[in-house]
């Protein structure tokens, strides 16, 4: 106990020092530029307090004064603080669009087949369910391999793990009604450079994908192996409620893929294994003169993946190297903000409307993004899709939009009123000081993390896209039906271990069985002190209520990640249609996920009532 009180005293002193430093700095009336020059203010707007304190999440205690700065004491010596980097030096990359090979015969290795081709080195263990009924029309080949990646010109080249050499990986552009097959090779190197494991399972989040191609956490495969993933690109309901083509109101648009290897997801995704998968159809066409007339893809329809990461100090043995904290079980917060793999890049925009597809790529942080003008006033935007699902109508956001890990928000931003040369910023104003979750403080616009600079160009440009202010209609929310069963899940921590209904994950532990095509109601409850973004694979859910209230407008659609705040109570409506097999539900704070905050459920034609709310084991 002597240690604890000693640590508390040191923590108190550290916090007092930080506060004193801040007062000194304010008293000296230094400008923002002076502070950046002195290395006391990060380009993201965070003060770097002196005496070993940093803007990074404190490992052992700390907190905030509600001023956007996190003060903490590092109980463990040598925790690095990332080197300073000059913001907005490089253009934001847009991941390349994946190109199919000519035909099935052009794939490396044997022709694809329904059964796992174990003899030829395939890692798959179960036959494709829809290989003959929804045969692939296009074939892709992807190699997971190490590549040299520049995340910022002032930092050294990083050895990252990639899909075909880029971070984020190449973007798949897919169409409903056009099934594809991706042959996925594990060519990762023997040397991991400090974290990550060289066995992988790639999840398509959140396709209506048969289990064997979903990227279940236990379907990982080793170096030298490959895995054929068959994505039918088919609407939910096609073989059940809405034959033969499925329910158009279940259309999805912004999906992503990422590694999902059990226990090592956080490390492998942090190391680079993630990318976008976009789905179009006859309404969301990618052509702004047809269908819903959403901004033209790819010129004005831009995927953006946000991550926060840490890098070793420049004066250490591995200067400027990407670092993953292997000793963190709460959640990892980075002090560098990356968009599409670059730290604080810029992006040129023309004077018109854009569709930005925002994705929080983790590992743990929650964002609340605003578009901030140079004078720090707010530029509202419209949310049109939540988790890649178009809402019934656009929703005007005047107070930013919150995005937890793995959530996606498609937004329409209008730059037509800005003079050429205007700069705007995608600005995270949500204060978060540790992995437990954000505080509810929204910091001032000048103190946020300005993660991307948007530069308005002078190009003349036309805009044929729909004006969200005219309140266009997209899809209806699919009709619900009476549920066959209600299941209850509590997300909590027990003996320092993350649990769902007091249990932990194991690959062979089927916690409950869902009867195919049944409707279910799930009640999710958050624990004390922690926030969790909960992801359920396979089919999109609807939020019936949040703390017994009707959810907000942007949550009145379809989702695959639901944010559980402290002690939140959320009711979800589900159907699990068309396919059978195993799927997980898990916290998408990838640190929690890797520490067993996950369960397996199976879909079959019988089902069972395990984890039902009536089961007194749980309530």
């Amino acid at each position: 106990m002597a240690n604890i009180s000693k640590r508390n005293r040191r923590l108190e002193k550290a916090i007092m020092d930080a506060s004193k430093n801040r007062r000194e700095l304010i008293a000296a009336q230094l400008s923002r530029r002076d502070l950046i020059k002195m290395g006391l203010l990060t380009s993201a707007g965070f003060l770097i307090p002196k005496n070993g304190l940093s803007a990074r999440a404190p490992q052992f205690g700390g907190g905030s004064f509600g001023d956007g700065n996190c003060y903490g004491f590092y109980g463990r010596g040598g925790t690095p603080v990332s080197p300073p980097t000059t913001p907005y030096l490089e253009a934001m990359p847009i991941p390349p669009i994946a190109q199919p090979v000519l035909n099935a015969d052009a794939l490396t290795g044997p022709l694809p087949q329904a059964a796992p081709n174990t003899a030829a080195g395939e890692g798959r263990t179960r036959a494709h369910q829809a290989f003959t009924t929804l045969p692939p029309q296009k074939y892709y080949e992807v190699h997971q391999r190490e590549a040299d990646i520049i995340v910022h010109p002032e930092l050294p080249v990083q050895k990252l793990w990639t899909f075909n050499g880029t971070v984020p990986g190449q973007t798949y552009v897919a169409n409903y009604g056009q099934p594809i097959l991706v042959r996925n090779f594990n060519d990762l190197p023997p040397n991991n450079g400090g974290f990550g494991i060289q066995s992988v399972s790639t999840h398509l989040h959140n396709g209506h994908t048969p289990s064997e191609s979903d990227g279940f956490p236990c379907d990982f495969f080793a170096v030298t192996k490959w895995y054929d993933q068959h994505y039918p690109n088919v609407l939910a309901g096609f073989a059940s409620t809405h034959p033969p083509n499925g329910d158009i109101n279940e259309s999805m648009s912004t999906l992503w893929y990422h590694d999902h290897r059990v226990d090592f997801t956080a490390q492998n995704v942090y190391k680079g294994l993630a990318g976008f998968y976009l789905l179009f159809n006859q309404f969301d066409t990618g052509n702004e003169s047809t269908g819903f007339r959403l901004p033209q893809f790819p010129e004005f329809d831009i995927p953006m993946m946000f991550n926060d990461k840490n890098f070793d100090p420049l004066n250490g043995p591995t200067p400027g190297k990407l670092v993953f904290d292997l000793a963190n079980r709460d959640g990892i917060l980075g002090d560098k903000f990356l968009v599409n793999g670059k730290i604080q890049p810029f992006f040129n925009v023309k004077r018109r409307r854009y569709r930005f597809r925002w994705l929080n790529g983790g590992p743990s942080r929650f964002y609340q993004f605003y578009i901030t003008k140079q004078d720090n006033t707010n530029h509202p935007f419209w949310v049109i899709a939540n988790d890649g699902n178009l809402l019934p109508n656009p929703v005007l956001m005047t107070n930013g939009v919150r995005i937890a890990v793995a959530e996606r928000m498609d937004v329409i931003v209008d730059f037509s009123t800005f003079a050429p040369g205007t700069k705007l910023y995608i600005n995270n104003r949500l204060e978060q000081c540790d992995g437990a979750g954000p505080s509810d403080n929204i910091v001032s616009a000048s103190q946020g993390n300005k993660v991307l600079e948007l530069r308005v160009t002078s190009d003349t440009v036309t805009d044929g896209s729909v004006n969200p202010a005219t309140n266009p209609h997209f899809y209806n929310v699919p009709a619900r039906e009476p549920e066959d069963i209600t299941r209850c899940f509590k997300f909590d921590r027990e003996n320092g271990q993350w649990v769902i209904n007091n249990e932990v994950f194991a690959c062979d532990d089927v916690r409950f069985k869902v009867k195919r095509n049944n409707a279910e109601r799930w009640q999710l409850e958050g624990g004390f002190d922690w926030q969790h973004p909960i992801h359920i694979h396979f089919e999109e859910h609807q939020i019936i209520s949040r703390n017994r209230n009707t959810p907000t407008l942007i949550e009145r659609g379809r989702k695959d990640v639901v944010r559980l705040g402290e002690n939140d109570d959320v009711e979800l409506f589900f159907r699990f249609r068309d396919f059978v097999g195993r799927y997980p539900m898990h916290c998408h704070n990838t640190i929690h996920e890797d520490h067993a905050m996950m369960l397996r459920f199976d879909i079959d034609d019988v089902g069972n009532s395990n984890e039902s709310c009536d089961d007194d084991h749980h309530r």
């Binding site: 490396t108 991991n192 450079g193 591995t318 709460d330 271990q497």
Partner: protein, 210 residues
């Protein structure tokens, strides 16, 4: 990596079962990275085993080994006995590999009370076999070790409670820099499976998931 054509890939296939071994020999791996990992997570503090032997944490217990680490204390009730029982069954399932190429360590959260004698009694009482060491040492050093290894939380109030550090079991392969955690309350077969992922002399198979 050069793109394999079908022929070279097929040629490579018969070698696949040995690929792990080849990889292991080919790579003395990244010594600088290992060194940084050592400095960051594995302080080379002196500990005493339940057999009364003095050891250095990194040099003697971690370096070049597949290891299984948890924290406990001898008079812990509640979930502790169940976790110890699970690890005992895991030790039994792993057989004579424990002590040969897989090493199990239980560090005390109560260094003042848990002398080597107390731990020796604890190990004997539970029927612990060789290859699994119970460790004590200087309280502040063990506390530092606990935090370095990630048996901690940023929430200081929760961090004070010993019972918040007993739920997890860390597993790893120091040379390959693979580090994960498995819950101590998981089924012993699952704990064993997680530990065996660390064995790089075999190509890892997909997890058992009937």
């Amino acid at each position: 990596m050069a793109r394999l054509n079908r022929r070279s890939m097929l040629g490579a296939l018969p070698a696949a079962p040995f690929a792990g071994g080849l990889v292991a020999r080919a790579s003395t791996l990244d010594d600088k990275s290992r060194e940084v990992t050592r400095m960051r997570y594995f302080p080379n503090v002196e500990l005493i085993t339940h057999l009364g032997k003095k050891v250095r944490f990194y040099d003697d217990l971690i370096k070049n080994k597949i290891v299984v680490i948890n924290f406990m204390y001898a008079d812990c009730e509640g979930i502790c006995p169940a976790i110890t029982a699970n690890l005992l069954r895991a030790q039994k399932l792993l057989g004579d590999r424990v002590g040969r190429d897989i090493f199990m360590y239980s560090l005390t959260l109560s260094a003042e009370k848990d002398t080597p004698e107390v731990l020796k009694h604890y190990a004997a009482m539970h029927g612990v076999k060789p290859g699994w060491l119970f460790l004590t040492g200087k309280p502040d050093e063990i506390d530092g070790l606990r935090r370095s290894l990630g048996f901690s939380t940023g929430n200081l109030k929760l961090d004070k409670e010993k019972t918040n550090h007993i739920g997890m079991v860390k597993y790893g392969n120091e040379r390959r820099e693979w580090w994960g955690m498995v819950p101590g309350k998981a089924k012993p077969t699952w704990i064993v499976e997680s530990i065996l992922w660390m064995d790089d002399t075999k190509v890892s198979k997909p997890a058992a998931q009937p």
